[in-house]
C-alpha cells in the first residue's frame, strides 16, 4: 500500500515536472524542473530494487549532465534566448503528433503486451550477493564488449568536446566573429557584462 502511494506520488511529480520543463520560457527553470524529475526517477528506481541505478541516476544525471546544461546556459546569453518567436501552427502540430503517439502506445500496444520468460536473478538471488555485485558480474562477463565500446564512446565525447570548445585563432571569415578579434581573448560573456 505504501509502495503504491509512493509510486503515484512519484508518477504525478514526474509528469507534472516534465510538462513544466518543456513549457517554461526561461531555460534555467526548465533545467531545474528536470532536476526535480531526476530525483523522483531515482525514487522510482528504488521501488524497483535498483539501488545502484538510483545512485547513478542522481550522481551522473543530476550531478554531471544537468550541471553541464547549466554551465552552457550561463555561457550563452540568456537575453537572446528568452525572446522566442511563437510558431503556433508548428507547435500544435507537434503536440498533436506526440499526443497521438501516446494514445497509440497506451491503448494499442500496452494491452497486447505479454511478459516473456523469467531470468535467473530473482529478488532472493540478488539479495544473496548484493545488487552492485550482481550487476558487476553480468557487466564484466556477458557484457564485456559493450562495456569497452562505452569506454570508447566516452573517449570520443571527451575528444569531441575538446575540439568543439577550442577557440580557433584565425576564424575571422564571419563579420560577427571578426568583431571579437579586435579584442583578443575576450569571450562573449565578458561582452555581455560590459
Amino acid at each position: 500500500m505504501f509502495t503504491q502511494i509512493f509510486f503515484i506520488y512519484c508518477a504525478l511529480m514526474i509528469i507534472a515536472s516534465s510538462i513544466l520543463a518543456i513549457s517554461f520560457r526561461n531555460p534555467i527553470h526548465c533545467v531545474l524542473m528536470v532536476l526535480v524529475l531526476f530525483f523522483h526517477m531515482a525514487g522510482l528506481y528504488l521501488t524497483l530494487n535498483a539501488e545502484f541505478l538510483a545512485a547513478v541516476q542522481i550522481i551522473v544525471y543530476a550531478g554531471a549532465i544537468l550541471v553541464l546544461y547549466l554551465f552552457v546556459l550561463f555561457l550563452v546569453s540568456l537575453r537572446d534566448e528568452i525572446r522566442l518567436i511563437p510558431f503556433i501552427a508548428n507547435a500544435w502540430i507537434g503536440r498533436a503528433v506526440s499526443a497521438g503517439l501516446a494514445g497509440v502506445l497506451l491503448f494499442a500496444v500496452l494491452p497486447s503486451f505479454t511478459i516473456g520468460e523469467k531470468g535467473r536473478w530473482t529478488v532472493e538471488a540478488v539479495r544473496e550477493v548484493t545488487h552492485t555485485k550482481a550487476i558487476g558480474q553480468e557487466l564484466y562477463t556477458t557484457y564485456l564488449l559493450p562495456f569497452e565500446i562505452a569506454g570508447l564512446i566516452l573517449l570520443v565525447a571527451l575528444l569531441g568536446g575538446l575540439v568543439l570548445a577550442r577557440r580557433e585563432r584565425g576564424e575571422s571569415d564571419d563579420e560577427e566573429v571578426s568583431a571579437d578579434t579586435t579584442h583578443p581573448g575576450s569571450t562573449p560573456i565578458q561582452e555581455e557584462v560590459s
Binding site: 520543463a21 541505478l53 546544461y69 552552457v72 550563452v76 550482481a134 553480468e138
Partner: protein, 100 residues
Amino acid sequence: MIPLSWYIALSIMLFCVGACGFLTRRNVIIMLLSLELMLNGVNLNLVALSYYLDSVRGQLFTFFIITVAAAEAAIGLGIAVTLYRSRRSVHVDTINQLKG
C-alpha cells in the same frame, strides 16, 4: 505490489512529453533536454521490465544508455556553444544555411 503496466504507462507518457518538447520548442538546449526526458522514459521502461523479468539485463542497458546520454550531452552542448559563437543565437530556425 505495483503492476507492470503502471510503470510502462508512466514511461510512455514521459517519452511522449519529451517528444512534444522536442517538436515544439525552438531552443537547441531545451531540445537536448527533451531528448534526456525521452531517454529517461526508456530507462524507466527497461528497469521495470528488468525487475519483473527477474533479470539484470535491463539495468545494464540503462547503464549504457546513461553513458551514451552523457556523451551525447557533452557533444550536443559543445555544438550548441559553437553555433552560438558563430551565429549568436541558439534558435534552430536560424540555422538554415544548408537549406536549398
